[in-house]
């Protein structure tokens, strides 16, 4: 334990009547045993833990961050509005200083949902943290925000959404993409040209245990956060790094998760994945809640926990040390790297194929960003999906400079629907979302 007691808000929404399909990992039963454990431990009776009912996110909240094709109502269910709403409620309670920190223990998750949404990928339709972050900025003014994604899967959706945003530091620590969905999140994915270094990927080898995660936290994540100086730290608290998780290969424990949370001390934590619903989630969640509330979590262990059996090999430790050194070096040299990347360029373009595994949709996307020293840069996106939908989007970033905004407006004005089903215009500062 590092800290003293804190007042912690808990937004608990297990969505007991919602599933992707009857036997899908994202099903009704997922948080059942977590609920049992949290209730039985009596955590909600503790003076410094308060439960809040989730609010409902609105379509405007979604349109502030996503371009849903053809529109938001077509890609979500009510459950998504509640889980995004739950994250927003958690944020509100922290921002209004009703609590010191808050945990949105909600489902369905969101960190694989990218800016353009043609359907569900990696069990996610909309990105609940991203929606929450833009809600915070809209309601409480601009904030520098760091997201530390500790889900076992690369948070590729969150990365995509904040790729060009220099004021949102996205750090993802996850199982190496060569061995796990979604196959991305390598350390050279380091942020867009106007935000180089604001995306940090830390892929870890399979069977990394508590030792490795905490090494990365202490020697890489915390020092970077110290330098970035965010106003808010958000933890995408996926729990599938657990040694018992059925769809991943890591060796993290409840004690490890609680210790990580304790040292990271996030303002807001939001549940992401985690599918060991009986053996891991009940204990990991109790550990995280206690750590956030500043209560002794040293007695929270899984029934079958055996640190010797899950300990990472010396080889893994060495590999992680090398990774940390290399990524530290990248971070320290980000300014010179950016200069080299943008030198003499006015626009940079990337073309990608994106696969929506949950809905079996494939998308071809071409994204262009204006090189800008004043703001995150104007973005335009051309996207075509196997559903037949073809769209064009113009995105003026938050705190956008007059030049980027003006150019964005011009492009939107000039672009006819012609070959597109829809043309979208998103302007965060003016909270504007237009479709033609």
């Amino acid at each position: 334990m590092t800290g003293s007691r804190k007042k912690t808000g808990l937004v608990f929404f297990p969505a007991f009547d919602w599933a992707i399909s009857a036997t899908h990992p994202e099903r009704e039963e997922r948080l059942l045993y977590t609920q049992d454990q949290v209730f039985e431990e009596g955590l909600l009776d503790l003076d410094n833990i308060v439960e809040f009912k989730p609010g409902l996110a609105t379509i405007e909240d979604i349109n502030r961050i996503h371009i849903c094709v053809p529109d938001a109502n077509r890609v979500i269910t009510q459950s998504h509005l509640i889980s995004a709403g739950g994250a927003i409620t958690a944020a509100e309670k922290v921002m209004e200083k009703e609590v010191d920190n808050a945990f949105a223990l909600v489902r369905p998750p969101g960190h694989h949902a990218m800016r353009i949404v043609h359907g569900a990928r990696g069990f996610c339709n909309i990105n609940i943290e991203a929606i929450m972050i833009e809600y915070i900025r809209r309601r409480y003014g601009h904030r520098k925000i760091a997201i530390v994604d500790t889900d076992c899967h690369h948070g590729d959706g969150t990365q995509d959404i904040f790729w060009h945003d220099p004021d949102t530091l996205f750090i993802s620590v996850h199982q190496d993409g060569r061995t796990l969905y979604p196959g991305s999140g390598f350390s050279d994915e380091f942020g867009g040209p106007n935000a180089l270094g604001a995306t940090i990927n830390i892929p870890l080898p399979p069977h990394t245990s508590d030792e490795g995660f905490l090494f990365v936290l202490d020697n890489l994540i915390l020092p970077i956060l110290d330098e970035f100086k965010p106003d808010l730290v958000i933890n995408s608290a996926g729990q599938d790094n657990h040694y018992s998780d059925p769809i991943t290969n890591m060796s993290f424990s409840a004690q490890g998760y609680a210790t990580l949370n304790d040292r990271l001390s996030p303002d807001i934590a939001v549940l992401e994945g985690g599918y060991s619903i009986e053996s891991a989630l009940p204990y990991v969640n109790v550990g995280i809640i206690l750590a956030m509330a500043g209560i002794d979590y040293s007695h929270v262990t899984e029934p079958d926990y055996n640190p010797e059996a899950t300990r990472q090999t010396a080889q893994t430790s060495r590999y992680i040390e090398q990774q940390v050194a290399a990524i530290s070096d990248l971070w320290k040299t980000r300014a010179t790297r950016r200069d080299a990347l943008v030198k003499g360029k006015e626009y940079l373009r990337r073309s990608r194929s994106i696969f929506y595994d949950t809905d079996m949709i494939s998308e071809q996307q071409e994204e262009t960003v204006r090189i800008c020293n004043e703001c995150g840069g104007l973005i335009t996106i051309r996207s075509e999906a196997s559903t037949g939908n073809r769209i064009f989007a113009v995105i003026v970033p938050g705190r956008g400079c007059p030049v980027c905004r003006h150019k964005g407006e011009e492009i939107f004005e000039e672009t006819g629907t012609g070959s597109y089903h829809h043309v979208y215009f998103q302007d965060r500062d003016r909270d504007l979302f237009l479709v033609k």
Binding site: E40, E41, K53
Partner: protein, 558 residues
């Protein structure tokens, strides 16, 4: 004929009902040192001259257990906890005689580690050495599998005066509350048993053979002999008697708010479709959060006798009471004095009321009438804002399904029932502020005794059926039984309801007023490995709703 008795903090009341009409009432000042004496006095008074053979039932509400707890006059309790991982043990202990032992079951009721009988025996010896006679045995998730508690009990059996088992207290999950409830049950067991023995002696002595019922915190009754194993259920029956009294005098079927405006406090309760709301998990008493099923009530420090002061340019009311109203010779002005001055009631000495209010008026540089009006408004405003806060809390209670979030019922009171001394004079003000009609039922002065007399027997049971494990448990009844893999949802409901019926009848319920309902019903498919459905996890809770065997047939309200 039915006899209802309410042994309250200040007064003890009795009422004799014949064909649902109030035939006689009696009132005495409660003798705090000897509650049974007060009880006997009022009961003798109402049954004097009646034929004891015609009494069908006696029901009483008593503060005996509450007093013992609040005044700390309880027995020393040894606690044995089998908790496993979770909160640190020091956050769970109640007193120095708490021992955490090895062994626990997990959230599914699967035994992860067994207990060590030698460890338990050593603790038993320790308790014996300390002359501890009452022991509480509590396991985490023991409602899912009581086996460990039973095993510990087997080692202790015969060596102590009484053993209280955690799984018998409630089917709800919450280990710290289960510990507190079991602790309190053990701590008051002896006091309660002695009280029950004297009541039964008295009843026998009077030649009354009718069943004897005790009112519980949930506004329902239990036969007194059945209550001996679970005496803690009878705590806080005072507020419950008041709520049931209001219900018996009004018999409403809509959403309503009930206010009992006393001398020092105002107690608030809420009815949903005419049924009083229960605390979600259990009542809080003497600083202990418990699993004791109880009516949801809030108490605020504003009553007819609350002291009124003028401080820093503002009028304040309560929360303390310095004595009776000034009109009755009390030391400071009170809301009652304000009501007297405003001509809302003609009790007491108006001159004394005026004198007391005038002191505040002088400080506030306003007329006594203006000040009286302000006091009255402030008292009502305080009550109304507490009601609003309570409603908001109820209506914002977290729920866990999409359906409930979108369609959940909101409680919107259509009427306010008001009892207590200042009820009549304050009703018009409260009515206006709440913007709903207020009703002041008749016989309010003995409402608690009537409530006890007419409350029906209530109880609940909680079923967990896990077809993967092949087991169903109903902890309140100590049921742990094998079920087949094909055990259906309907079979689970049937088992739950038949168990509830049997339990309620054993506790003294009448077959024709058993109003049973399912309050929770969840079925989860259990999927393991690569998407195989391995079983179903069903959670069903059923209750006999708090309510009346019949409502009083008197028109007396305004």
């Amino acid at each position: 004929m039915i006899v209802g008795i309410d042994v309250g903090g200040t007064h003890t009341d009795a009422v004799l009902l014949e064909s649902l009409h109030v035939k006689k009432t009696a009132k005495a000042v409660t003798n705090q040192e000897n509650l049974i004496e007060s009880l006997i006095a009022v009961t003798e008074e109402v049954i004097r001259g009646e034929n004891p053979g015609e009494i069908e039932r006696i029901a009483l509400s008593t503060t005996i257990s509450t007093n013992a707890i609040v005044q700390g006059k309880t027995d020393r309790v040894g606690l044995i906890l089998a908790g496993g991982p979770g909160l640190p043990p020091e956050m769970l202990a109640i007193g120095e005689d708490t021992h955490c032992i090895s062994g626990y079951v997990n959230h599914r009721g699967i035994r992860v580690a067994g207990t060590d009988p030698r460890e338990v025996a050593r603790i038993a010896e320790l308790f014996e050495g300390k002359k501890i006679g009452h022991v509480g045995i509590v396991g985490k998730f023991s409602t899912r599998n009581p086996a460990l508690e039973t095993e510990i009990g087997d080692v202790l059996d015969g060596r102590f005066r009484h053993l209280s088992f955690g799984h018998r207290m409630s089917g709800n999950l919450n280990f710290p509350r289960r510990i507190a409830t079991t602790y309190l049950n053990a701590a008051i067991w002896k006091t309660y048993k002695a009280f029950v023995a004297s009541v039964m002696d008295f009843v026998d002595h009077m030649g009354i053979g009718a069943p004897l019922h005790i009112l519980k915190a949930d506004g329902g009754t239990s036969s007194i002999s059945q209550s001996l194993e679970y005496p803690v259920g009878s705590i806080l029956s005072g507020p419950a008697a008041s709520v049931m009294g209001i219900l018996s005098l009004t018999d409403g079927t809509e959403d309503a708010v009930a206010l009992d405006i006393g001398g020092t406090t105002t107690d608030i309760a809420i009815f949903a479709d005419g049924v009083p709301l229960l605390e979600p998990l259990g009542v809080t008493i003497g600083g202990h959060k418990t699993l004791i099923r109880g009516l949801l009530t809030r108490s605020i420090g504003v009553g007819g006798d609350s002291s009124v002061r003028y401080k820093e340019g503002r009028i304040t009311i309560g929360p303390e009471r310095a004595g009776p109203a000034a009109a009755f010779g009390g030391p400071s002005p009170t809301p009652t004095d304000a009501l007297i001055l405003l001509g809302r009631t003609d009790i007491g000495d108006k001159g004394k009321a005026l004198k007391a209010i005038r002191e505040i008026a002088a400080q506030a540089h306003r007329s006594p009438e203006q000040v009286a009006q302000e006091i009255c408004d402030l008292a009502c405003r305080t009550i109304v804002s507490a009601v609003r806060e309570m409603l908001q809390e109820i209506n914002n209670k977290p729920v866990y399904t999409v359906h409930e979030i979108l369609e959940g019922k909101k409680i919107v009171p259509a009427v306010a029932y008001i009892v207590g001394g200042p009820a009549g004079p304050m009703a018009p003000y409260l009515e206006k502020m709440m913007n709903i009609p207020a009703s002041v039922p008749g016989y309010a002065e003995v409402a608690n005794a009537i409530g006890a007399a007419l409350a029906r027997t209530t109880t609940e049971v909680t079923l967990l059926a896990d077809t993967e494990k092949g087991e169903a448990t109903i902890p309140e009844e100590g049921i742990q039984t094998a079920i087949s893999r094909n055990f259906t949802h309907q079979e689970a409901i049937d088992l739950c309801m038949s168990t509830l019926r049997a339990r309620a009848l054993r506790m003294g319920a009448y077959e024709d007023t058993l109003d049973m309902e399912i309050v929770e019903d969840q079925v989860f498919n259990m999927v393991r490995g690569m998407g195989y459905t391995t079983g179903r996890n069903m959670r069903i809770k059923a209750q006999v709703k708090p309510g009346l065997v019949a409502a009083i047939k008197e028109e007396g309200g305004q």
